[in-house]
Symmetry: D2
Subunit: 285 residues, 4 copies
């Protein structure tokens, strides 16, 4: 029973590139964390350390900075340029996967070149290109949202280890991690992202929820319904538990007003919402 | 040469209390991290484990939640209520120090009970009360700001270990950590905080900077000038270095457009700006 | 083109259970972080919020603690018991995946009930059970190792973005993240883990390295060779760069003695080593 | 009421220097995180941005690397050399404070140049020098220890917010953060550190505890008693709560065997143990 090399990839992770567009007195800022990952004909370096086909990760990093010089634009477009470059110029490289995180900044008042970090949520993309096929996944991570009512949880099965009470009113809070795969690649990426982010928020706000699963599905469905060119969306939603404090020992009622925000453990709800008619693409993720 | 107990305090750190004000259909949210710290006649528990004077940290936690039931309001006022409670009701406790962090939430659109986490910056207070004297320090932490120009750094001394070039144009970025001590305790705490935060931003934006020290002083000065009842402000400003990438090896210029955002090491500039006429109060910090 | 629910799972993440075995005066400690994840006939809760088939995540947490009462033993065995319980007792649940992290403690001297946290590296397992098939993956994460010599990197291709010099002597450092899939499930799990961990270290130490890929393959090969019942191993190795400082400006040589340990970006080398004769099992990961 | 500059300092934080001693085939590794902080006649840069007296933080970083070239030795000695250099060579600098963290590595087996990261606990020093006086503080941070019995907590006062039960047997766990000030500066720093660390462990193990305060004092006392040249020790001990799980709902007893390791909130016990006969030195911390 022979031992052999299986799937593998390598690259430079977390290149922190910041670009200032200063062609006008009103500057713009783009703040990215870029990770590149290449695979292909790489058996030699694994078996013998022969690096003749190993474009250094340092070169990959340099390429990110050099490409940023020509302008970044939307992160999906930037990642596409990088992915194509590596596969099209390095013969042994058969697939490139580029992941980009974009940090939010907002202008301070109307100051032309002053910025403050915005929301903690991060816009992301993962682009995969193998010389023939291209996959583009866009996403948002760490978008923390909370409904202070309109959430219930009851009717669940009870076994010998069940102690949880049913509730008709609870806080529902989560950090939205959502990634959606584009079925076409000619989007206005910025508009598409804004629309998807808004759909997630609208569905979170608009769903009277009996389970976080129900909210998850509603969010995914809303995103797909608004953009017919999206093939699927995957959501991972931690249930950020807020427990009603029992204040009775102190002679106090607590009608859903005072909560303990707990750290661990937490529920974790993960699910995919997909549209018929698009081929699946496990390689895109 | 005898060995003896010196200064000491104990308490419950990081009680995560969330309050929903739901007296109207439009809910409000207050999200806090509260740490209490008590000191006093505590020698017995240190020397013999006699806990007769040790109000449990669990009780301190309970007190935070119980007090939240009556409403929280501004964090300075909430901390004052807690501090006075512990000192005034526990005879052996001679001093209470309450630290509160408040996390920012913003309403999602005009939804009545849906919220999204806002900026990463945290509003803080530290209140100290010893039965006679009260100190209130307010602050902001992690307010990340960046000027993409109008920052220079030159004219510094050069010794045998100096290799840094002078620059007439650089990015100046920092995470503002600022804490200011109130000279009076009847402020409209919310308005005072908003004004101080705005003063910090205005000074950061408005200062053409030759050093981060200069910017620090301008920020502190601006805060004190706008609020005559503030006694002092202490700032700790990491210099979040953004290095211009050398793109010449790739045949590219880089006129201040493409930067590497570095993690470590980082400059760290710390300073106090103070107003004459207020007694110093090391105990407040 | 209809929109529909795709793959999904839910569970309780990061239940922190600590067990003290105190049947003898010499106590033993087991410190775990357990995450459970269930999937099955869960479409109702997603579409309508009907929770009749949703065993609460709170119940899953309770089950972890209750099962710990009977003893934990090796984490693979504990995860197997949990996985089988959920699938075999909950008709709508068709698959359970249990992930366990175990933190290292070591006895302080020969004290019978005193312990200090040991190495930062974490032992892990992921067990998947669907009523018929069982998969067991064991692993180690965060095992930080460093060779101060016997590492070279040269002979790589150079394109227009390549500036990296070749080196015949560098530091090679990484944080080993390795997970191996068992082909059989009757192992002495503790002995198997110890042997795999030792094989990783031995291969890291014993490989004169021309690339981190070569070291990765050698580590994976060594693990598989020593345990014929292991089907495959997946490694993810960040290249923790240590850059030789240029001390020439200060009139100093630096023959590989003084380094800057950099944070980001970092190389990331990922690869699988697999043995013929075992069916693949993507579902195990 | 004039506004003026108060106390201030600046420097380079978190310079990550790794040194390999390779004068013999058996290498040794020193892995440090060094922060420098200078104060003095720095009013000009704050008020006008005149940097004529501001030795750049970049130069401070270079100095750390250059000094490491000559060998590092014990961190206290290394910090002393750096502190004296800055004050003695830069006329406007009146005080230097150098903080060093040292990460633990251990040799892998008997391999001559292979290492694995050791315990998570970090050895630290803070050295302060003002041209005349020198202060040396040594310490350990993050030393996580746990007693699985021999800890009680009862006899505490009960007020209207007290719900905690008394206990005659609990887990006592903490992460030791301890810093001790040397009264003399000619120690064998390495031996002194080893002895202090051992004293902390011995006292933790050897104290039958009725409160974490009692354990804290015993630890501090033990350190001072073993080293007559230590002036004081400051300890900060988070009470890492391990709550006995209530398994009664499942028909199970739980005689101190199954615990939930909680994250927040946590008790925080802070105290100083000091020896008569040494002058106090607030400036050392």
């Amino acid at each position: 029973m022979a031992i052999a090399l299986g799937p593998n990839q390598y690259g430079k992770a977390e290149t922190r590139v910041v670009r200032i567009d200063r062609d006008s007195p009103v500057h713009r800022i783009t703040d990215l964390n870029v990770s590149t990952s290449l695979s292909g004909d790489l058996i030699d370096t694994h078996l013998t350390g022969d690096n003749a086909k190993v474009l250094p990760t340092d070169t990959q990093k340099n390429t990110v900075y050099a490409f940023a010089r020509e302008g970044i634009g939307e992160i999906e477009a930037f990642a596409l340029r990088l992915a194509r470059h590596f596969v099209d110029t390095q013969e042994p490289i058969h697939r490139a996967r580029i992941r980009v995180e974009q940090y939010a900044w907002q202008r301070i008042g109307d100051a032309p070149h002053s910025f403050a970090r915005g929301e903690a949520a991060v816009r992301t993309t993962t682009v995969t290109y193998d010389g023939t096929n291209t996959h583009v996944v866009s996403g948002v991570e760490g978008l923390v949202v909370l409904n202070s009512t309109d959430s219930e949880f009851w009717g669940f099965p009870r076994d010998e280890y069940t102690t949880l009470g049913e509730t008709q009113d609870r806080i529902l809070a989560t950090a939205v991690n959502a990634h959606w795969r584009h079925g076409t690649h000619s989007e206005d990426w910025g508009a598409s992202y804004a629309q998807a982010r808004q759909a997630l928020l609208d569905a979170f706000v608009g769903t009277y929820s009996y389970s976080l699963q129900q909210t998850l599905y509603a969010m995914g469905q809303q995103v797909l319904e608004r953009q017919p060119t999206l093939a699927e969306i995957r959501l991972s939603l931690p249930n950020k538990h807020h427990f009603v404090m029992d204040l009775e020992p102190f002679g106090l009622t607590n009608p859903g007003e005072v909560f303990h925000a707990d750290d661990r453990p937490y529920g974790l709800i993960q699910g995919t919402v997909q549209r018929d008619g698009f081929p699946s693409a496990e390689d895109a993720w």
